[in-house]
Symmetry: C2
Subunit: 170 residues, 2 copies
Amino acid sequence: MTTASTASTGATRWLTDEEQRVWRAYLHATTLLEDHLDRQLQRDAGMPHIYYGLLVQLSQAPRRRMRMTELARNVKITRSRLSHAIARLEKNGWVRREECPSDKRGQNAVLTDDGYAMLGRSAPGHVDAVRQALFDRLTPEQVRSLGDIMRVLASGLEPEGTDADLPWLR
Amino acid sequence: MTTASTASTGATRWLTDEEQRVWRAYLHATTLLEDHLDRQLQRDAGMPHIYYGLLVQLSQAPRRRMRMTELARNVKITRSRLSHAIARLEKNGWVRREECPSDKRGQNAVLTDDGYAMLGRSAPGHVDAVRQALFDRLTPEQVRSLGDIMRVLASGLEPEGTDADLPWLR
DNA sequence: GACCTTTTCTTGAAAGTTTAACTAGATAGG
DNA sequence: CCTATCTAGTTAAACTTTCAAGAAAAGGTC
């Protein structure tokens, strides 16, 4: 019941010319931007974009720590992927695992001082990169519009909404 | 010279509140959509989104064949990644390699009949998924606006443009 | 032609991701 | 309590991507 819309009627509503152009532009731009930021962070911070996102999340959490599952949910990755990622960040000394007092199954990922420092060092460059690629190129209306559009898309794909899918991802 | 903008002055222009919200929404929506389509295609066509994109490109090329480098450029991936991907698709019987007559270094990736057939089978479902996630949720103005915005972003990240980077990617 | 550089594509290993199975602790019902 | 079920997180194996290196043909240049 995830796909079916024309699947039931048999008639496929293909994309119009404009839709095709927009879709291609979307794919094109989003992959270029992701590649760009991934390379920027790999070069300046020694990690892929998503790992950086994990550190940012932790840096904003109450005591710079967060339960594994919550962290995974916030960044939209599976728990498995998070396990591997945290293992790697732990090797770098930027994150540390800590048992959860209230739930013995649980683990907290904790941002270390080293991790915090490295974030402070690389954040300016990263913000710069985002600004140059995105905000400095769009008009204020476009920025507002982009926000609206992205919120619509996200709400439609959120596990909640109309057709509740699995737990929260997969 | 890729990053530096405040790097030279020392003053970081952080993101405003609205910019932060927009950026988060962007990351959120784009990762959800990519995950969604990846899963849809993995389920219905047995391959990740980017592999599907390769087949689509080939299906639209003159004699359903294309030089490796051109294919890689069109889909925005490295030649190395393409080599591995084509090897996998070859194992599936959907693509076949063919030597290039005019340039003995060259290879053409050719979409097989099996590949073409499989594309015909999975295209409707994929178009449906894109439509449901994107076009059915946006107003016509939003679609137009999204196209404009994405074209601006892409043009700024294209290896050409103002600050010519490396060959075309990396 | 000999020499040097560039272009095309492949390869192998390391890094990252996915999938499915699995351990251990929490929870609910009887 | 005891058992069934659920939840948190990890792990192994298969697969994909990246990175660095390299083989082979093409293009100058003298």
